[in-house]
């Protein structure tokens, strides 16, 4: 290369490097500001509601657009109950799928079955809503709920949980749909972390005569414990903010009852339904934004825990 060209090209290159590095850095800082502004905008938008109702907003079960008295109590309760119930149903199934895919399935089946489960995660939530409304709700109201109500009729406590007219919509159906939606997330994460267990560990356990289940229980579980909990929290994060599917099947009533078969609502479903009827600058809109802020804080905490637990996996 003639010296003159080299002399010309080096300053150019330096400028190019500075500009490109600056661009990527600016984009990185932009992301930070994006999350920051989401938090600030929700907090500022919800401020009139927090000011009007005080900390009691969090637990108040009122939601009355006529008298303009609003509270987050029912929807926070609905959000937490549906999500936790969904996890109770989803975790064993997710574990079963992950266990099957890593230990039991023949090699040629692993990829197609794994892909099918992953595709379940790609189905848009509005589709789960329709499927839930037109397929699951009728099944619940004609088969499952009458059977449960009759079955637990004389069992104390349980008769309160499974009571009421079997409409098919309600907390339980919402939790069921959420479970179906998070199973692929939790299952795929569990499968991935199970796969990180060194084969030597498992072979040693098989070598001393462990059964497949014993290998999973005493080798795979202890090795992947944190990441498994992290995957479950990731699923919880998804369930908490799920909107469309829940809106279709939860029944949308602002009340708390002991029965899981009764209607309720969640933060996301309440916001989705009531937002269109709120005027700009109204206390109702502020209350919905405040609900959004609360949902954001809950999700943020859950996702942060999930990430801390899943982290070591990515460090490798």
């Amino acid at each position: 290369m003639p010296p003159s060209i080299a002399r010309n090209s080096i300053p150019n290159a330096r400028w190019g490097d500075r500009i490109f590095a600056g661009l990527t850095r600016a984009a990185a800082i932009f992301i930070l500001m994006l999350l920051g502004s989401i938090i600030v905008i929700l907090a500022v938008g919800g401020w009139p509601a927090f000011r009007a109702f005080g900390p009691g907003f969090l637990i108040s079960t009122n939601w009355n657009p006529v008298t303009e008295v609003f509270g987050a109590g029912v929807s926070v309760y609905g959000t937490l109950v549906t999500s936790v119930l969904a996890l109770i149903m989803a975790v064993p199934v997710s574990f079963g799928i992950a266990f099957y895919l890593t230990e039991l399935a023949p090699g040629w089946l692993r990829r197609p079955v794994g892909t099918a489960i992953e595709l379940l995660a790609a189905v848009p939530s509005i589709i789960y809503g329709m499927w839930g409304f037109f397929v699951v709700v009728p099944f619940m109201s004609t088969h499952f709920e009458p059977a449960m109500i009759a079955g637990f009729h004389h069992v104390p406590v349980m008769d309160r949980l499974f009571a009421g007219p079997p409409f098919g919509t309600g907390i339980f159906t919402a939790a069921f749909i959420l479970a179906v939606m998070v199973i692929p997330f939790i299952g795929a994460t569990m499968r991935d972390v199970f796969a990180t267990v060194p084969a030597v560990y498992k072979e040693s356990a098989y070598g001393v005569g462990c059964t497949t289940w014993e290998v999973v229980r005493s080798v795979v579980f202890p090795y992947t414990k944190n990441a498994v909990v992290g995957g479950i929290m990731l699923g919880l994060g998804r369930a908490l903010g799920e909107t469309m599917a829940v809106t279709f099947v939860i029944g949308n009533a602002n009340r708390i009852t002991p029965s899981l078969f009764n209607s309720g609502n969640t933060i996301a479903s309440l916001v989705a339904l009531e937002f269109g009827e709120s005027e700009t600058g109204s206390l109702k809109l502020a209350s919905l934004l405040a609900l959004g802020f609360i949902l954001f804080v809950i999700s943020f905490i859950v996702l942060t825990i999930s990430r801390l637990l899943l982290r070591p996996k990515f460090k490798e």
């Binding site: 330096r14 079963g96 489960i117 595709l119 189905v123 909107t243 989705a272």
Partner: protein, 297 residues
């Protein structure tokens, strides 16, 4: 395969071979039972996917005809189609991806090439992961306050921005992961030849990671094409034909939402057709993304 089977022969000081045998039988039975339950769980998962697809096809295929693609939404009984919703979704998902992808690409590049272990890099990776899983309805609320209120009305642009916010973290994640897979020696070779670092990244690393990055973009399109919640408060939906981005814009998911919960049979039928279309599109994009990635490995 069980050592306790042969009692003393294995070297264990077992008093009673009968106990050992019973124990080993029990252990194997427990394992078998749990294995069977796991197979059942997997079958349940496959059954659910099958049930959803079957429901969509059996309800949607009957209403599938040309008017769906040639006519716009119309009052019940007037034989409307979904043309405006389909076009609206293509425009919004397309522009959202166009807007979000460059940002995601740059952030992913920063995380892999410049700020890999820096404090800023750690923070950005964390924030991007939070955005990836944050409830999408909150992004709708955010864009409503940011754009719809100041502008005084719902608009296609607001929908595009909301979808772009969802695209960014997806592209960040795949870009970073894929760039990290590019061997360091490729970068060194480029720099050793006198290429500036930015050229090494844009012309060598991007090319090596191209399939992976394309996969990420395809997955991002698939994700935002089916999003409903963030569009409810941004582009709102439009029953008329409108390509004006400053006006409310129709989209397939929002139309499905309002039609599915309507009391009219022909609207519910159209909702099923729309649901079948959107699911087929989203799943096809997902499968395409996997094919692109597998071709490489």
């Amino acid at each position: 395969m069980n050592v306790t089977h042969s009692g003393t022969a294995s070297g264990f000081p077992l008093r009673d071979q009968g106990v050992a045998l019973r124990l080993s039988r029990r252990r194997r039975a427990v394992s078998r039972l749990i294995e069977a339950l796991c197979v059942l769980a997997t079958l349940a998962g496959l059954f659910l996917l099958g049930s959803i697809l079957f429901t969509l096809v059996s309800n949607g295929i009957g209403g599938m005809n040309w008017t769906v693609f040639t006519r716009i939404t119309a009052p019940s009984g007037d034989g409307g189609g979904l043309l405006n919703a389909i076009v609206g979704t293509i425009i919004q998902a397309g522009l959202g991806t166009l807007l979000g992808t460059p940002v995601g690409l740059l952030v992913g590049t920063y995380l892999s090439e410049y700020g890999r272990d820096s404090k800023l890099g750690e923070a950005v990776r964390f924030v991007s992961d939070i955005l990836l899983s944050a409830p999408s309805i909150l992004i709708g609320l955010f864009v409503y306050r940011l754009m719809v209120e100041p502008a005084g009305g719902y608009s296609g642009w607001a929908g595009v921005v909301a979808l772009a916010v969802i695209v960014v973290p997806i592209v960040v994640r795949t870009t970073e992961d894929m760039l990290r897979l590019v061997p360091i020696s490729l970068r060194e070779a480029a720099v050793a030849l006198g290429a500036p670092r930015w050229k090494a990244i844009t012309q060598i690393c991007y090319r090596a990671a191209r399939d992976g990055i394309v996969t990420g973009i395809l997955l991002a399109i698939a994700r935002v094409a089916g999003e409903t919640a963030p569009l409810l408060f941004t582009s709102l939906g439009n029953l008329n034909w409108s390509l004006d981005m400053t006006q409310p814009m129709s989209s397939l998911p929002v139309t499905i939402y309002s039609y599915a919960s309507s009391p009219f049979d022909d609207w519910v039928q159209l909702a099923w057709v729309g649901a079948l279309l959107i699911t087929a599109g989203v799943l096809a994009l997902n499968i395409l993304a996997r094919v692109v990635l597998r071709k490489r490995s």
